[in-house]
Amino acid sequence: MGEDRDIGEALCAQVIEAAQQRKPLRPRGGDTKDFYGEAINAETLDLAPHRGIVQYQPTELVITARAGTPLRLIEAALIEHRQMLPFEPPHFGEHATLGGAIACGLSGPRRPWQGGARDLVLGTRMINGRGEHLRFGGEVMKNVAGYDVSRLLTGSLGTLGAITEVSLKVLPAPEQELTLVQQAEPMTALQRFRNWRAQPLPLSGLACLDDRLYIRLSGTEAGVASARERLGGELLDAPFWDDLREQRLAFFQADPEVPLWRISVPPATPLLEDVGETLVDWAGALRWVRSDAPGQTVRELAERHGGHATCFRGDCAAGRFHPLPETQLTLHRRIKQALDPHGIFSPGRMYRSL
């Protein structure tokens, strides 16, 4: 167990030195998501010791903590006050940190209803490529002073700078939560998802795997009870959503030689079954697919449906992330240049030329 510590100055000093020597640096938290990004050669900027909850007043619905704070400590602090992180970040290991979760920008099953990591970030402190410790956004719900650098950093994989502190919007934990299971072929499941999405139901999860359709309802006792009656299904008493989020389900444990694709599509997209075995999450908007089809094929399929594909786990000759058109990539380079003029922060981690 580490203790609360503020090592901001030491971190800045390390960045300044790296900038002077033009040596690449890679911010690292709990090292649980090393797989998520291209492998690069860079010195570690260790944010794990920079930890501690800086501010948490439950009635403000905001928590602020240093980047190295373990996610589980944050979640424990919230649950004490019956609150939660609405975007349900995946941990992928007990040392997962807040900074890492935000830098990766990944979100759990509640995403379509409560928003993703980027939606809940209110403010950040960060060290840019000049070693300056800056503060953007804040701890209030609404703030349009200055460009939204905090959300720009979310999901930027440490390529724009080191996130040192994050303020997040939190929400009251639902009074009641339960999971229902129905038997349904994937086609039928997608059809039901489509109907339910358009209705005002207290949904917080809709997934489908192996001809089983999973429904999570969250809300007031009365609201959940009436929705349960309306939708029907067997009550499930297993941590299905945690296992889905943490990729502990058998689907994720299968043959590691076959790449795991994360395909984000408009939710009404038909089943992409011809490329491989599929788990549908996010009410249809997320398809986990195990496929050894060439990356190009998977990506073209995603694009045809208005989506994009990330090679999440496994060997990805075609690059981890969906390629950007050249005009976009040029703009990305300029933005990186604006925050990290010497290009020291995790070069190549997201795209080889960035």
């Binding site: 007043q57 439950p58 009635t59 403000e60 905001v62 995403r111 928003g115 980027r118 939606d119 000049r130 300056e132 800056l134 503060r135 953007f136 804040g138 701890e139 209030v140 719900m141 609404k142 703030n143 349009v144 002073a145 200055g146 460009y147 939204d148 650098v149 959300r151 720009l152 979310t154 999901g155 930027s156 929400l171 009251p172 934990a173 009074e175 999405r197 358009a198 005002p200 207290p202 007031t220 006792e221 009365a222 609201g223 009436s226 929705a227 984000s264 009404a268 908007a285 989506g307 994009h308 990330t310 969906h322 005009t327 703009l331 990305h332 300029r334 933005i335 604006a338 925050l339 795209y351």
Partner: protein
């Protein structure tokens, strides 16, 4: 031609050549350049600032916008975008030696996708028009600024507009999936996607609230939500503003997230009641409007809970709207509050600071003291649920010096918001109006970082010059540098 990292200069303008070029793109009928024709465009909703541009151009296609931007880029002529002109911070205030690009003719809803719950719209479409177009599908577009009958969706993106229901349903940035943007040099970029988490950096978030400084939004893909089965509004009256402020905290502490939680003080209640007969209790010192939505069972349970909390917090009266009609009337009073105040004073000045909820009572008391000190009446109407204040300062512009005193008082209020851990603008933007207070909220390195980001999109500073982010020179002149925990943040930064 940029001199310093945060300041730009433009070559002398050849007006005739510029007009010829614009005319060739949009035709004479869509180009305004006589003083008389330009006059209606001299200001936005903040009429204290006025300026005429060289020309107003009204394109109708994306290709025309691209050509206009290419032309202006080649000639190094500044461009200011304008939606409906309802902005309250001078964001759409024209640049004197520049072109005002109006998106008014981009007023079509291009596609409604009921399977994916999205609508693809042009930027000039009015906010309310989207919800109206999908009402028969029992869907709606959630962000509902009080100006929703007039303001454009492009302007909403540029300001990251909020509304009465953003506590639960989020701001514009949470309800837009994709925008098409014409860059300063005329390229068309797709930012975001019709799916979640588009690859690369989250440029969609950066575009939100960027006040026309980074590109011209020419198409927007918004999310639609199913209409809640039921919505109920409770109206609670209080003898003291502070009690109402405390009730806000208690509701949140009970784990309830209302769809809307708004507060008005006595002068605002009276003005609104006189104007639209909303049925408000005019003797109350403050009212809270609390909307609860969900399934019928949920709403009933929540309403009971909230009613009990309000009574515990010393509400003198709690009313529940009996029907849809009364609910609409309760909200109409709130939505009409600004124009209602406009009837009781020759002029008013609307502030937009956001503060932590726990500071509500303290800040309201301080604002009252400042109001007394300056001898200017202040009316309070605000989004209590998310701490976004809209103090309205009443003044008379025809009285010499009164506008200046009003602006000074306004500045003090914003600085107070920063002091208690809040921000100078929750939803109206910095624009021209709050540019000096940016020097209070941010330190020099942060301001320079904003300028650097701007240059990544717009190397020559042609888009909306002089707005949103102050130069360090301006901050030095204003005499305020960011003070944090009582110390000057960067005493080493030279002050010009």
């Amino acid at each position: 031609m940029s001199a310093t990292p945060d300041h730009y200069e433009f070559p002398p303008l050849d007006r005739e050549a510029l007009l010829r070029g614009l005319r060739a793109i949009v035709g004479e009928q869509n180009l305004l350049h006589s003083e008389e024709a330009l006059r209606p465009y001299e200001c936005d909703g903040l009429s204290a600032y006025r300026r005429l541009p060289q020309a107003v151009v009204l394109p109708a296609t994306v290709a025309q916008v691209q050509e206009i931007m290419s032309l202006c880029h080649a000639r190094q002529v500044p461009v200011v975008a304008r939606g409906a002109g309802t902005g309250l911070s001078g964001g759409a205030l024209p640049y004197g030696d520049g072109v005002l690009l109006s998106l008014a003719r981009f007023n079509r809803i291009l596609q409604i996708d009921r399977d994916n719950l999205t609508a693809r719209v042009q930027p000039g479409v009015r906010n309310l028009a989207i919800s109206e177009a999908v009402a028969d599908l029992d869907l709606y577009y959630a962000p509902d600024p009080s100006s929703q009958i007039a303001c454009s969706i492009g302007g909403n993106v540029a300001e990251n507009a909020g509304g009465l229901h953003c506590l639960k349903y989020g701001l514009t940035v949470h309800n837009v999936l994709e925008v098409q943007v014409v860059t300063v040099d005329g390229e068309l970029l797709r930012i975001g996607a019709s799916s979640f988490d588009a690859p690369g950096y989250d440029l969609l978030a950066v575009m939100h609230g960027s006040e026309g400084m980074l590109g011209i939004v020419v198409e927007v893909l918004v999310k639609l939500l199913p209409r809640p089965e039921q919505a109920r509004v409770l109206l609670a009256a209080f003898d003291e503003v502070v009690q109402a402020a405390d009730a806000v905290g208690e509701i949140i502490a009970a784990g309830i997230l209302p769809a809307g939680l708004e507060m008005m003080d006595n002068p605002a209640i009276r003005a609104a009641e006189d104007f639209v007969q909303a049925g408000y209790p005019v003797e109350a010192q403050a009212i809270l409007l609390c909307e609860l939505d969900g399934t019928e069972a949920e709403v009933t349970a929540l309403a009971d809970q909230v009613e009990a909390i309000l009574e515990d917090c010393a509400a003198t009266e709690v009313r529940s709207a009996r029907d849809e009609d009364e609910r609409a009337r309760f909200w109409l009073g709130r939505k009409s509050a600004f124009p209602a105040v406009g009837r009781i004073s020759p002029d008013y000045y609307c502030m937009d600071g956001t503060i932590p909820r726990s500071q509500l009572a303290h800040v309201l008391t301080r604002i009252q003291a400042l109001s007394d000190e300056y001898g200017l009446r202040v009316v309070n109407v605000f989004h209590a649920g998310d701490g976004n204040l809209h103090p309205l300062i009443l003044y008379d512009a025809s009285q010499p010096g009164e506008l200046e005193r009003t602006e000074e008082l306004g500045g003090k209020v914003l600085e107070l918001c920063v002091q208690v851990g809040g921000t100078i603008t929750g939803e109206h933007g910095v624009g021209m109006e709050k540019i000096d207070q940016m020097c209070v909220q941010f330190a020099a390195p942060e301001l320079l970082q904003f300028h650097a980001l701007k240059r990544a999109f717009d190397a020559h500073g042609l888009l909306n010059p002089g707005k949103a982010v102050p130069t360090l020179h301006r901050c030095a002149e204003f005499g305020a540098m960011h003070v944090h925990h009582g110390e000057l943040a960067h005493p080493d930064i030279p002050r010009f």
